[in-house]
Every structure is written in structure tokens, then in C-alpha cells.
């Protein structure tokens, strides 16, 4: 007799997240405080104008965009938990698929909020929703982001409604394809800028896909560690090992695309200026120390040699490093590309200019930009914390009975 056509989801019981630790409430309170400060920052910037920020007409996209893009790519990657479960049938992830989707959606909303609040005219959001120029990748991204949220809701419905469980794989496949396209779209915002030497390359799209997988998995890992800790439980050992392996391979993928990006640039003499700027100039510290050392080498070595015995502590450190290093790479891509002079006059040296064509532009983020960016992170966390508290997304303790770490 064949097995009934049901999934492992039938065997799991879910409940609202019941925190048994002060950490949950502390984080909740911290998020509220940060959001209040962020709202004040957004109001101040919109009221006074962007001249109070570190951004200017040389560096028009600053730290808020670094936060927003990091959150958006992490959102796409945080869906890994659900994809591993529905699409790749990895049983260790199955109880956590709902959490993965909830986190992905929360991160995306946090990122989008930062982007919207940093607009020169955020009050015209309705214009952005009603006027579309379909030659713009930005306009397409509006559909990709809203579509991601819609697919996330449908995916959750398939997971939660027993009658719809048979469609889980289809929903998972759609979500998987959509998020790859979404991250490609986000990367292409930069890749299509023909006038900027640092950005006129299609490799930014796959680089962002790899980055999203690494940062998203790291964010998901931190969420798993926090949630189990707050319930005074331990993380499933199979899940922990799998997360560690995933992060390792994703980090290597980021490194690969980063190396190809810069090596191909170094091959073309027209890009030597920008490469000197990023690899040996103003952004060298952010690139080598932030992206390469903290973001790739250290977490990869920690995973490979396991100098920290405790898997949870190791995973915790690896995930934090992965996110910090990923944000450093986004910083180098976004700020580095703008702070170097544009190549308007090939074959000429700029002796003087009324608008900084003759040198590199400095950028230093103001407290308003930090507030706005951190506000996006706080919104994402707060949303996730509330959703988990009120909706049955967490597996009940007694069904999660595997080996612990």
C-alpha cells in the first residue's frame, strides 16, 4: 500500500510564538525606540531638506540606500528556509518554513520603507504607484517587490491551509523564481548605469543574488537562534549544520563574483581609476577589511576550521559577520561608484571644475541617515516579532524533537 499523499506539514502543529525570555521584550522595546527616532529623522530630513545629511550632488545615494538594499537582498535570501523545505524537500527546514517567509516579508517592508522615506518627495508615493515608465528597471522593481509580498502571502496560505498543502511545491517554485528575478532586478539598478564606470557591468546582478543568499541565510540563522533561545530551547543540530554549510557556499559564491568583477575591471585600462579608488583608495578599508576579511574570510574560516566549539556561538558570530560584511560590499558598490569622478573626457586630464570633476568626493553619513537606516532594520524586526507573536508560525515544542546543539 502506497503512502498517503501528504506532506510532513500534516504532522506538525504550530502555535503563536510564546517567549519565555526577557530578550524578546527587550528587542521589542528597542525596536520601538529606534523606530520613533527614525520617524523623527525622516521628518527632519523631509522638512529641512537633504542638505542636512551627508548626501550631496556627488553622492546622491547614501547610507539609507545601503541599509535599504541590504535589507531587500537579505529579504530575498531569507526565503531560503522555505525554499529548502518546499522545493528541495529538506526536512530539517520544514517546521520553520512559515518563519522564513514572515522574516523575508518583514525585511522587504523594512527596506522599502527606508527607500520611500529617503525620497525627495515621499508624499508623492502615490505618483510612483500610478505613473510607470516601463523602460526603467526601478519601475519594474516596484512590481517585483509588491509581487514578492503577494507571493509570500499566497505561499503562507498554501502552507497553513491543509486543503492547499498540495500546492506548496508550486508556490515554493514560484517564490524561488520570483526572488531570483527580484535580486537580479535590484542588482540591475546599478548594472544598467552606462555613465558610471564602476557600475556598467551585468555581473552586479549575479553578485547580488549570491549576496542575498548569504545575507538572507545569515538573517534567518540569527532569527532561529533568537527564537529558540527565547523559548529556552535548543536549535536542531541538523538544521544548524545545514545553515552553516549553506552560508559557507554562499560566501564562496559572493567571493567568486567579487573576484571576477574586479579582475575583469583590472583588465580594462578604462576601469583602472575606479579600481585604484576601491581597492587602494578611499574605500580600500571598507572593501578589504569589511567585505573580504570580516564578510568572507573570517566567517568562512570559522566554519571550515571550527575554532569555536559551540555550534550556536559559532553560527551566531558567522551570521553577524556575514551581514556586516555584506553591508560593507553594498556600501562599496553604492558609495564607491559615486565618489569617484565620472569619465566624461577620455584622453583628457581635468585641471579644474566648478563641480568636482577633478577629484574624488568625500561622503560621511549623518546621524539622520543612520537613524533612517536603522529604523528600517527596526521596522523589519518589529514586524517579524509581532507576526510571530500573533500568528501560528512557530512549531510547537514537542514536535521539534531532533538532536540538539
Amino acid at each position: 500500500m502506497s503512502e498517503p499523499a501528504h506532506t510532513i506539514f500534516d504532522y506538525h502543529r504550530y502555535a503563536t510564538f510564546a517567549p519565555r525570555h526577557w530578550g524578546y521584550y527587550s528587542l521589542l522595546a528597542l525596536c520601538v525606540v529606534v523606530i520613533i527616532f527614525a520617524a523623527y529623522c525622516a521628518y527632519t530630513v523631509e522638512h529641512a531638506g537633504h542638505h542636512i545629511t551627508g548626501m550631496n550632488n556627488h553622492v546622491v545615494w547614501g547610507l539609507p540606500h545601503v541599509f535599504a538594499i541590504s535589507l531587500i537582498v537579505a529579504a530575498s535570501g531569507a526565503l531560503n528556509g522555505a525554499s529548502m523545505s518546499s522545493l528541495f524537500n529538506n526536512k530539517a527546514y520544514k517546521p520553520y518554513a512559515r518563519i522564513s517567509i514572515a522574516l523575508a516579508m518583514s525585511l522587504l517592508i523594512g527596506g522599502l520603507l527606508v527607500l520611500v522615506l529617503d525620497l525627495g518627495r515621499p508624499d508623492r508615493l502615490i505618483v510612483a504607484m500610478t505613473h510607470y515608465n516601463f523602460r526603467s528597471i526601478f519601475a519594474w522593481n516596484i512590481f517585483l517587490y509588491t509581487g514578492f509580498l503577494f507571493i509570500g502571502i499566497v505561499y503562507l496560505w498554501m502552507l497553513m491551509e491543509r486543503k492547499m498543502n498540495r500546492h506548496i511545491k508550486k508556490a515554493g517554485a514560484l517564490a524561488f523564481v520570483w526572488r531570483i528575478v527580484l535580486t537580479s532586478g535590484t542588482g540591475s539598478i546599478f548594472g544598467f548605469l552606462v555613465g558610471r564606470n564602476a557600475l556598467d557591468t551585468a555581473i552586479i546582478a549575479p553578485l547580488f543574488i549570491a549576496l542575498s543568499l548569504a545575507m538572507g541565510t545569515a538573517a534567518l540563522t540569527l532569527a532561529f537562534i533568537a527564537l529558540t533561545h527565547w523559548q529556552q530551547r535548543q536549535l536542531d543540530a541538523t538544521l544548524a549544520r545545514s545553515l552553516e554549510k549553506l552560508i559557507f557556499w554562499f560566501l564562496l559564491a559572493v567571493l567568486y563574483f567579487s573576484i571576477v568583477h574586479h579582475l575583469t575591471n583590472l583588465y580594462a585600462s578604462e576601469h583602472h581609476g575606479i579600481e585604484r579608488h576601491i581597492l587602494g583608495g578611499q574605500h580600500a578599508l571598507m572593501f578589504w577589511f569589511g567585505h573580504i576579511l570580516l564578510g568572507i574570510a573570517l566567517p568562512a574560516l570559522l566554519i571550515f576550521f571550527k575554532p569555536i566549539r559551540s555550534t550556536i556561538r559559532r553560527l551566531l558570530l558567522v551570521s553577524v559577520l556575514c551581514i556586516v560584511g555584506g553591508a560593507a560590499l553594498v556600501y562599496v558598490v553604492v558609495i564607491g561608484s559615486q565618489s569617484s569622478p565620472q569619465r566624461i573626457f577620455p584622453g583628457h586630464e581635468v585641471l579644474s571644475s566648478g563641480f568636482g570633476d577633478d577629484g574624488f568626493s568625500a561622503y560621511s553619513a549623518s546621524v539622520w541617515e543612520w537613524g533612517l537606516g536603522l529604523g528600517g532594520v527596526a521596522v523589519a524586526l518589529l514586524l517579524a516579532l509581532i507576526v510571530l507573536r500573533v500568528l501560528p508560525f512557530s512549531p510547537e515544542v514537542d514536535v521539534d524533537d531532533g538532536e540538539k546543539v
Partner: protein, 249 residues
């Protein structure tokens, strides 16, 4: 016998049908030719204007910024003492040829590209190109995302970082939106034989380095000079078909 007669009739009918068809075809052809002639006649009228500038870098003087002052005065652009955030519709740049060592000076503004990257990337369509080639920003639909500033290969766009005062009615502007050289569109729309404010300022200084005109009118001064003396577009490798051309660079 009957069958032979039938065959002959069929051939005649077929020949007659072919003649009718060919006649019909001839009539359609003649009609088409007539319409083409009419179209040619219609097209004989001057094509829609394509406004542009020709800048002679040999005539542009190092250290002179009359064009910048002229533009600022015309459009009410004030210096707030913050060069990194102030609007710059036009700027002066001094260059040295790396090979020959020749030093040139030139004004740099929106190049009014035919395939404008700023128009392509604008999510709301606020950046647009008029039929006469002037690239503008619709102040009512610009959301201030600054993607066009990122996309412009000439660094010709400015985001307005703070409140504006003493605005001119001919150039409405707004905090939180993006703007750039309008090619003095208010003068174009007013008609007549006016030059742009920067060209006027340059002429008044006696340099005559900037010439404004209709690139599509073969009899215009700018088209004649371009035809006879040539003029290059900056970053011609991008094939943006700019409306602003430079000589002697």
C-alpha cells in the same frame, strides 16, 4: 471537343481575371505613388526642430564664468555657499589633452541626449524629452529618487537639497526634486530668434563660444557651422546623440 472548348474558355477567363487583377494593382500602385508624392510634399516642410548648442572650446576663455552667471541669473539659481549641494545647471571645466598637452576650457551642461539615460531610468516618467529634443523634468511627477542623477553620464543633474527662495516664474523649481539645464525652454517657447542665456552671456563678454540653434534646419547658423567645421559629442561611445556639440576639443 467540348473539353477543348471548355479549356479555351477557362484560359480566356483566367487571362481576363489576370488583366483585371493587374489593372487593380496598377490603380493601387498609382494611388500609393500619389500619396507618397503628397507625403513628400508634406515632408518638404521644415522637419520638427531639434534644438542644440555648439561650443567652440578655442573661443571659451579659461577663468571666465559668464555663462554660469548668466544661467544662474536667468533661472534664479542662488549660491548658498554649499557647492556640493547647490544646483549646477552649467559649470566650467578646464581640461588638458594627455597626449598633446593642449589646454581647453568649456561649459558643461545637460547634453539633451536623443537617447537620454535619465529619461530611460526615471520610474515615473518625470524625466522626459520633448519632440524638439529638449530634455526636461516634470516637477509634478518627480519623486526625488535621484536615479536620473546616478544615470546621467555628464553629471549634469542637480537634486534640490533645501528650500528655494526668489524663484523666477519662467523656471519653477522645487525642493526634493531634480533639475537640470532646460536649454532656456521658456525662450524657445516664446519664439523669435533668441539665444540661450549662457550664449547671450558669452556673446556679451565678446567670446562667442556658445551658439544655440535648430540642428534640423539646414539653413540655421548652427547646422551650417556643424556641417562645415564639424563638432563632436562627449562620450560619443555611448551613442546618445547629444544635442550639445563641442569643437576643437
Amino acid at each position: 471537343m467540348t473539353s477543348i472548348k471548355q479549356k479555351t474558355t477557362d484560359i480566356e477567363l483566367s487571362a481576363s481575371a489576370r488583366r483585371r487583377f493587374l489593372k487593380g494593382l496598377g490603380a493601387v500602385g498609382a494611388a500609393a505613388a500619389m500619396s507618397s508624392l503628397s507625403l513628400v510634399e508634406l515632408n518638404a516642410e521644415p522637419a520638427v526642430a531639434r534644438w542644440g548648442l555648439l561650443i567652440d572650446t578655442d573661443k571659451c576663455a579659461t577663468g571666465c564664468d559668464a555663462c554660469v552667471r548668466g544661467c544662474n541669473e536667468e533661472h534664479g539659481i542662488e549660491d548658498t555657499g554649499k557647492p556640493d549641494t547647490d544646483a549646477k545647471w552649467i559649470r566650467k571645466i578646464d581640461l588638458k589633452d594627455k597626449l598633446s598637452g593642449k589646454v581647453s576650457s568649456l561649459p558643461m551642461m545637460c547634453q539633451h541626449c536623443d537617447s537620454a539615460p535619465c529619461v530611460d531610468v526615471c520610474p515615473t516618467g518625470a524625466s522626459f524629452k520633448r519632440d524638439d529634443g529638449v530634455v526636461l523634468v516634470n516637477k509634478h511627477t518627480c519623486i526625488g529618487c535621484r536615479y536620473c542623477v546616478m544615470a546621467c553620464p555628464y553629471k549634469a543633474r542637480s537634486f534640490i537639497h533645501e528650500d528655494l527662495f526668489n524663484q523666477k516664474t519662467i523656471a519653477p523649481r522645487g525642493k526634493g526634486t531634480v533639475e537640470s539645464c532646460t536649454l532656456c525652454v521658456h525662450r524657445i517657447d516664446a519664439g523669435g530668434d533668441q539665444q540661450t542665456a549662457c550664449a547671450d552671456a558669452c556673446t556679451n563678454e565678446g567670446y562667442n563660444a556658445i551658439l544655440f540653434g535648430n540642428l534640423n534646419d539646414p539653413d540655421s547658423q548652427i547646422a551650417t557651422r556643424l556641417r562645415e567645421q564639424g563638432g563632436m559629442e562627449l562620450r560619443s561611445d555611448l551613442e546618445l546623440k547629444t544635442g550639445v556639440r563641442y569643437r576643437n576639443l
